[in-house]
Symmetry: C3
Subunit: 211 residues, 3 copies
Amino acid sequence: MAVEQTLTLLVLDLVGCFVFAISGGLMAVRKELDIFGVIVLACVTGLGGGFLRDMAIGATPVAALSDWRYLVVPMAAGLLAFYFHPALGRLGPMINVFDALGLGLFVIAGAVKALDFGLSPLAAAVMGLATGVGGGVIRDVLAGQVPIILRRSVFYAIPAFAGAAIVAFGLFLTLPQPLVMAAAFAVCAGWRLLAMWQHWEAPLPRGSASV
Amino acid sequence: MAVEQTLTLLVLDLVGCFVFAISGGLMAVRKELDIFGVIVLACVTGLGGGFLRDMAIGATPVAALSDWRYLVVPMAAGLLAFYFHPALGRLGPMINVFDALGLGLFVIAGAVKALDFGLSPLAAAVMGLATGVGGGVIRDVLAGQVPIILRRSVFYAIPAFAGAAIVAFGLFLTLPQPLVMAAAFAVCAGWRLLAMWQHWEAPLPRGSASV
Amino acid sequence: MAVEQTLTLLVLDLVGCFVFAISGGLMAVRKELDIFGVIVLACVTGLGGGFLRDMAIGATPVAALSDWRYLVVPMAAGLLAFYFHPALGRLGPMINVFDALGLGLFVIAGAVKALDFGLSPLAAAVMGLATGVGGGVIRDVLAGQVPIILRRSVFYAIPAFAGAAIVAFGLFLTLPQPLVMAAAFAVCAGWRLLAMWQHWEAPLPRGSASV
């Protein structure tokens, strides 16, 4: 099983991990956890999606354990969230914005790595989605909330799956890699930010099964 | 490590995945999630147990990622649950009936695959149990409920473990495969359906540690 | 990938599994689950951390499935918790004391095994932490509680990480193994017991992000 972890993949993974860990750390601050709790929730949020992906495709030991940068980056993000959260102003919107950026980066990294491991484009798209939403799902479950992916799929799961599918099928069809990745990021993160901006305070309709 | 995934195993896995995904989709409908949330919860419920099993025994990439049918089947089940749930009448009982059928199929498939990977009969029985209850546990945790396996073990965990043990020890003793599987399914799904039918509204006794 | 599972590691793992499973079983008794629910929660708590570790480092089939003792020990612990919990008096403190002992044993076993698999000391320390807290996190999530690791990091996560780091870096520097392990256990379990004893009823400060 060939592992060709390109530099692009590494950088995407680390940046995505950082912004996701920030979102986990800010959630922990909002829940009034102490400094170590903030770091732990930051790390779990930043690394959870990649852990799930690597365990599922058999890329063990998982990447986060093979490279010290995957451990240091989310720890640093947790410290930043703990000490500088007052400067970030209102925490709720910030968590969601960081979450959107991390989502875009993670679905790309997840789909690329799954293709590298020989998965089909459909399976790679699903792994991209899992990489993108895994950390947030674990964050929400640990914080005692129903995961955002289940509550706000127009904001979250559909953009994530769209971005992952663009990468998986685009690279499978050997379209130009930078173009494919840029399109995927724009669709995933852009869609989500736009949806959040437009429907910021939109309540979920009660008594209806569709948004 | 020899993987001999028989056709029987594949069919059991796919049918179990379908009915489990239906149960997850109906739970999502009852929680008023939108269409994508329904599909995601259907997939997680249908694939979660097999994911856990394959990651634990080292069958990676996990089966659900190696065969597109494992991805398409639960997606279709989620769509069915979303569009046709009104025809299913009261949702609560339906979720439980589908759950019982999926449980019976999954414990068999899980125990068979674990034996194929060289695990002992006891370990294979435990993996059968994990395959059967894993998806439902993840479904309940994501939906914000204490897992049914912990609340209703006479309805759930004991029949599942009994079915898994029948398969694991029956095949280990080289008893006839169709007979062993039929007995396991009858015990697991039948026991559970019977228990549900008889004690449908039975409240859990308070102030007591035993049922 | 060389697996050299020493006898020391096996014994630590089994004893840690036993006391952790007791803590899970007592939690289940307190939640008024029936006998099978108690056994299941005991097994999940006793085996969850090791499952996570083995899946993450690629030690599959995971240890709990390769050795029947890993399955029988937590089942026996669950039975003990179910039948003898009245003799244990107040359940809350007992759960925490067993939890502290299991934590000390598990972080050591987890870090040692991760080093055996060639992980760096930092990654081994993280795996020791994950092994130690994984079962308790799963226990709390299944029981519908925010995990104790996030609520009481001074009691829990910091001692666990300190113990894991002592083992990981101590053995990496080829310090004497018994000395390193004794120091790690004393720091981890001792710190946690001391913190619990001193701040037994200490409420979490509200309106503050730091303890």
